[in-house]
């Protein structure tokens, strides 16, 4: 803080330095030699101020995470204290070992992982295939069909969840992973995202490959797929995170405890033991960690995926 104030003062001095008659005094010249030009100086000061603002802002926005982490390392009766303890008096690491026996956390994690991996693989595979058909093969009716895809993106999922549920009930698929896989693996959004990307790949490339004797499937596998790695990564990451975080799907379809995902397990834990504040926070931290890791590895693709498609499933 003191530094910032000094910087601010310095700018004022240098700003006021040039004399009215325009002749720089000896002292003035020495000052400009020693220091940066006023303009640069001003910019530096501004940067310091902005850094200060940003740090305060980000810390304020991260308070829920900080609080979550800190509470996960406390005893239950230490969580909601007056005044707030930001750093636990003593670190209760045992929360992180006890939770695995308190609730079947490992099973929940496995279920979430299983669903997320299967749905992501199917979505990326079928999505990129369909996107090739929609962008690189010309045939009658193609654009009308694509319009049907786009049209359903605009319909809120909640508006057709009941018919979906009836259908799954008739097929006898409620209370199984298959219901969720079938409902989520063929999303129109994945096709849309991949097609947007394929449209930016010049048709000449496919044309050249065709002349070289590659079949359409060969072009998809050997020309288009390698070129669309960033889009594939975006779609895979977005689908994975969406499936991992999904609450309503598992909530509607998965009734037996052994099928529950992390989100359902955590929610039911909160419902049953609502005074176990510390353990609830431990569970929350564990449910967020996989997403944090994936996000840190692939954040570039997340941001790109959002900026190019501008939407999310």
């Amino acid at each position: 803080m003191t530094n910032m104030a000094e910087d601010l003062k310095a700018t004022h001095v240098t700003d006021a330095a040039p004399l009215p008659n325009g002749a720089p005094t000896a002292e003035d010249r020495r000052r400009t030699d020693r220091k940066r030009s006023p303009r640069e100086q001003k910019k530096r000061t501004a940067n310091v101020v902005i850094y200060g603002v940003l740090v305060v802002l980000v810390v304020a926005l991260m308070v829920p995470f900080i609080w979550m982490l800190s509470s996960s390392l406390k005893e239950n009766n230490q969580v909601l204290t007056v005044p707030i303890q930001w750093i636990p008096q003593e670190f209760v690491w045992s929360n992180y070992t006890d939770i695995w026996t308190r609730i079947p956390m490992m099973g929940y994690l496995q279920n979430s992982l299983y669903l997320a991996v299967i749905i992501t693989c199917l979505q990326v595979l079928t999505g990129s295939l369909a996107a090739y058909g929609f962008s690189k093969v010309r045939f009658p009716g193609r654009d009308v069909l694509f319009l049907a895809y786009i049209g359903t993106i605009a319909v809120p999922w909640q508006a057709y969840m009941v018919p979906q549920y009836i259908m799954m009930q008739q097929l006898g698929l409620t209370n199984s992973f298959n219901a969720l896989i079938l409902l989520q693996a063929f999303g129109a959004f994945g096709v849309f995202l991949m097609r947007q990307y394929y449209m930016t790949i010049p048709d000449e490339l496919c044309e050249a490959a065709r002349i070289d004797g590659l079949s359409e499937y060969g072009i998809w596998a050997r020309v288009i797929l390698p070129l669309s790695k960033p889009a594939l990564a975006s779609l895979a990451l977005l689908t994975f995170v969406n499936t991992w975080n999904d609450y309503m799907g598992p909530f509607i379809y998965l009734t037996s405890n052994r099928l529950w995902t992390v989100q359902l397990g955590l929610r039911s834990f909160v419902g049953q033991f609502d005074a176990e504040y510390a353990m609830i926070m431990t569970g929350s931290v564990i449910s967020v960690i996989p997403i944090l890791i994936i996000f840190l590895i692939g954040q570039r693709y997340f941001i790109q995926g959002i900026a190019t498609s501008g939407m999310k499933g």
Binding site: I50, V53, L54, L57, V58, L61, M62, V63, P64, W67, M68, V82, I84, T126, L129, Y132, G133, F134, V137, R138, F139, P140, R142, L145, T152, V155, P156, W157, Q158, A159, Y160, V162, P163, Q164, L182, F186, A188, E216, V241, N245, Y247, M248, I252, Q263, L266, R267, I280, M281, S284, S287, V288, I291, L292, L296, F302, I303, I306, G310, M311, K312
Partner: protein
């Protein structure tokens, strides 16, 4: 359709070969689309169409489907649950849309500069958006704890004698939900605004500066007009997502206390899947869809008029 393709085809050999080529293309195209299309048709397209038809039928888990015309809608408009849910949904949207938009824009303006480590700040602000909703809801519920929660302790420390009861009070539960959702969503819309800001040519700002425009004037006369397409997109996305709000409410308040935070999506779930009134719940779905569609079309019209 077929004739169209033939005229479009690049190298005109004789027409029989062409027709054969077109048929081959159709076959190839469909094989690419089919794996996705089968799933899409069965589990998205058919349910969407079915939802329309169902809203004019009476069908429960105990009775066979029967055509009843507008009876579901009459019952819906006479039910106060529907009006309460609609009102709550609108209140949520009125809070969520402007707050998220304003904060996302402010954050984007702050973060739209070349500084060392700026990427870290952007990523940190974006992270809540992809954090699991249950974790978010659980943490905020505790932060909002009326007696000794951090938020009310903070409010107390700045001299607010009777801080609100948040999720335990029917007046303050909705604001609590809105605050949580704004916190969660603003990073996402910030990314959209950042992309918009970066597309503004710097010459515009330089020219404005030469003309002696102040920072505030540059904001109103250069930034805001240049961001219009982004803002349009953000408003549409935000409004649509507000009317669809579902999981956050289910996890955070489950519609309570009382019915103070019950929203349309939740009503569809309760009536349709909870109680098995398939027809009646589809009528509510149709209303939700029409609202979302109207909002989108309206925004498009406004945008078009502005551009002219």
């Amino acid at each position: 359709m077929t004739t169209e393709t033939i005229t479009q085809a690049p190298a005109p050999v004789h027409s029989r070969g062409n027709r054969k080529q077109a048929r081959r293309n159709t076959l190839i195209g469909w094989t690419f689309i089919l794996p996705n299309f089968l799933g899409f048709l069965a589990f998205t397209l058919i349910p969407v169409v079915a939802a329309f038809a169902l809203s004019f039928m009476e069908w429960t888990s105990f009775s066979a489907p029967k055509w009843v015309g507008l009876a579901n809608f009459q019952r819906m408009f006479a039910s106060d649950s529907f009006w309460i849910a609609l009102r709550n949904t609108v209140v949520y949207a009125l809070g969520h849309v402007p707050l998220t938009m304003a904060l996302a824009l402010i954050l984007a303006m702050l973060l739209n500069r070349k500084l060392k480590g700026i990427g870290f700040f952007r990523v940190a602000i974006f992270f809540p958006y992809i954090t699991s909703l249950v974790a978010v809801a659980v943490v905020w519920n505790m932060l909002f704890s009326p007696d000794s929660g951090p938020i009310n302790q903070f409010l107390g420390s700045i001299g607010i004698a009777n801080p609100p009861g948040w999720t335990s009070s029917s007046d303050w539960a909705m604001p609590a939900v809105i605050i949580t959702s704004v916190w969660r969503d603003m990073g996402y819309y910030m990314v959209l605004y950042l992309a918009g800001l970066q597309a503004i040519p710097t010459e515009l700002y330089e020219a404005a500066e030469v003309d002696g425009a102040s920072a505030w004037q540059r904001f109103w006369n250069v930034t805001i007009p240049s961001l219009r397409p982004t803002t349009f997109f953000v408003v549409v996305m935000l409004t649509v997502s507000s009317f669809k709000v579902f999981d956050l409410i289910v996890v955070m308040t489950n519609g309570g206390p009382g019915r103070s935070t019950t929203v349309l999506s939740q009503l569809i779930y309760q009536e349709g899947i909870g109680e098995g009134k398939f027809g009646y719940s589809s009528a509510i779905s149709l209303v939700l869809f029409i609202i979302v569609l109207t909002v989108t079309v309206l925004q498009f019209k406004i945008q078009q008029r502005r551009e002219r």
